[in-house]
């Protein structure tokens, strides 16, 4: 293939590829919404208060009112996403899903009203009620 032919083809492909990206980032995602999107809270914000209360490393329990996929074969759920966000925010803590017997248990509920219900079900006492359904608790009988 001559250089001239190849260059014409590549320039056309590049125009299409870059055009697609410009369309997506500027119009499909609506670039004028960028300031609002950029100021949205990051996943860390939900767990900022409890992070200051929890130990810096080690193992804590993790209780949620949303089911998690724990083995391959099914798709990850909203519960998985919340668990991963908590893990990301609280790293390097090891979050043991379903373990309510450790001295610190992260209660990650859909909303604040569900925290008490989860604590009652797992025999937990709230130490630090956080915002948006997040709390730190400990077992009634350690």
């Amino acid at each position: 293939m001559s250089f001239r032919t190849a260059s014409r083809i590549v320039l056309a492909l590049a125009a299409v590829g870059l055009g697609r990206q410009i369309w997506f980032h500027c119009f499909a995602e609506r670039i004028w919404t960028l300031p609002a999107a950029a100021s949205e809270p990051r996943p860390d914000a939900r767990y900022a208060a409890v992070r200051a209360f929890l130990p810096a490393s080690g193992r804590i329990g993790y209780i949620s009112d949303e089911p998690l996929t724990l083995r391959p074969g099914s798709l990850p759920t909203r519960g998985n996403e919340k668990y991963e966000q908590a893990l990301y925010a609280l790293a390097p803590l090891v979050l043991r899903h379903g373990d309510a017997a450790l001295p610190y248990v992260l209660v990650d509920a859909t909303d604040a009203a569900r925290v008490a219900d989860l604590c009652a079900r797992h025999a937990l006492v709230v130490d630090l009620p956080g915002a948006g359904g997040v709390a730190v608790a400990h077992p009634v009988r350690p």
Binding site: L70, L87, P92
Partner: protein
């Protein structure tokens, strides 16, 4: 600390690259220098962490050792080579301008995406940046980052090249700003584009180099994965580094040092993502099977030289997998009966074939690039000139890799089409820059460099 880290990256990258291409060619191979240096900086971080712990003194000593070893390699390379760099023609101006515009647009869109999604795509924060945070924050408790008590979606067994780069940067800069992993993602993607352009320019002339770089930077998926801060672009860049060195070796005579350094680059692939190991295996096989007219002994010797270069990195990977990486979701949860049932049923194979064909025209991520590449490969195959030696080996590596992935897709335990859709573009982007290298080397085979364009650009 920052200056020492920068010196470690530059010195070790220069030393390793000089052993392959000679000291006089280092300026031309700057993207390779930076990639090799970053790879060595991260691999030695993990090795030092596993062997001596996470203290700042250990890491400073590790960086100092990299500076000394890099300088030693530079001296050794100067003694051994000393040949002047091959003069290259200037880049044609109109195409250089087109590439500059494309790079600027891609960078602007990268920044826009970073501002909108500062933590990157789902895999970035759920795997790569999570691991980087864990390593940077945990100190001597770094083993917690790979705890089997974490839910398996954290993929504790994934290798650490990218998290190692980000974690060290977090520690050295004393900040966990989202701009740090974003800047690393941008730099590696930019090095990938520059390296492809440079490698094609080195072997086929400036004009073809610019075309190759333009084809890569304008690929929608390339920008998307880079901006999402995932490990797929670093893997593609290290694979391209290995492929470029292999291509130079195969075109200009297989000097063992080139092949050994290519092996080191392959080990960086394996230390970036598990797929890297597969690509190394396929490249070794391709070096033997795709050069059938050549003596078998020479082919085996070349493959062994590549393997020898990869060995230190493979030891690190084997130690990590044996000591810290407890399970892999693709293998740990699968039973023999499940595997047999999946392999025997024609349905998943047919679904996979259909899904793969659809991907060729998946405009959102690939524009018309994949179709264009398939058409160009068909043209090369049909024109009667055949593939040049480096193109043939690289194309065989890619074909073997894709063939090996087929049974992996069918046999893995996740829902097939979900797993395919969430991973196939990543696998394709791993191979894409090396595929472009193979394609452009084949397309420009035996064609004189366009003198009129070179004259115009002066």
């Amino acid at each position: 600390m920052t200056a020492l880290a920068a010196a470690a990256i530059l010195a070790s990258g220069s030393g390793l690259s000089a052993l392959a291409v000679g000291v006089s060619a280092l300026r031309r191979w700057l993207p390779a220098v930076l990639l090799a240096g970053a790879g060595l900086w991260s691999m030695t971080y993990s090795a030092a962490l596993f062997a001596f712990g996470a203290s700042a003194h250990v890491m400073a000593a590790k960086d100092a050792a990299l500076v000394v070893l890099g300088a030693g390699a530079l001296v050794l390379a100067r003694r051994r080579t000393g040949e002047p760099g091959e003069a290259t023609a200037p880049t044609p101006a109109p195409f250089r301008a087109a590439l500059a515009v494309a790079a600027l647009v891609a960078t602007a869109l990268f920044v826009e995406h970073t501002l909108r999604y500062p933590d990157g795509g789902a895999d970035a924060w759920a795997i790569w940046n999570l691991r980087a945070r864990s390593l940077a924050r945990a100190g001597e408790s770094f083993r917690d980052a790979f705890s089997p008590e974490l839910v398996f979606w954290a993929h504790q067994d994934y290798p650490l090249l990218l998290p190692g780069l980000v974690a060290q940067s977090f520690r050295i800069l004393g900040s966990e700003s989202f701009w740090i992993p974003a800047a690393i993602a941008w730099a590696i993607a930019a090095c990938g584009v520059a390296l492809l352009g440079m490698a094609v320019r080195e072997l086929r002339g400036a004009g073809w180099g610019v075309l190759a770089a333009l084809a890569l930077v304008s690929t929608p998926a390339y920008l998307g994965f880079a901006a999402n801060q995932q490990a797929d672009i670093p893997l593609s860049a290290f694979l391209l580094l290995a492929a470029s060195l292999l291509a130079v070796a195969l075109e200009r005579g297989c000097h063992p040092r080139l092949l050994i350094v290519a092996g080191v680059a392959f080990s960086m692939c394996a230390w970036t993502k598990n797929e890297g190991l597969l690509y190394l295996g396929c490249a070794l096989a391709a070096l033997v099977v795709a050069r059938r007219g050549e003596p078998l002994r020479g082919r085996l010797r070349d493959a062994l030289a590549v393997l020898a270069g990869a060995l230190p990195g493979l030891f690190l990977l084997a130690f990590f997998k044996g000591t810290f990486a407890h399970e892999n979701d693709l293998t740990h949860f699968a039973s023999a009966a499940d595997l047999l049932a999946r392999a025997a049923s024609p349905r998943p194979w047919l679904s996979l074939a259909g899904a793969w064909a659809r991907r060729l025209v998946y405009f959102q991520n690939w524009g018309l690039h994949l179709l264009g590449a398939a058409a160009a490969a068909a043209y090369v195959a049909l024109r009667g000139q055949g593939w040049s030696r480096p193109s043939r080996v690289l194309a065989a590596t890619i074909a073997l890799s894709l063939s090996a992935l087929l049974p992996l897709y069918v046999l893995q335990p996740h829902p097939l089409l979900w797993f395919f859709r969430s991973s196939i573009d990543r696998v394709t982007i791993h191979l894409w820059p090396s595929g472009l290298l193979a394609l452009f080397l084949a397309l420009a085979q035996g064609i004189p460099k366009p003198p009129e364009l070179q004259t115009r650009s002066r």
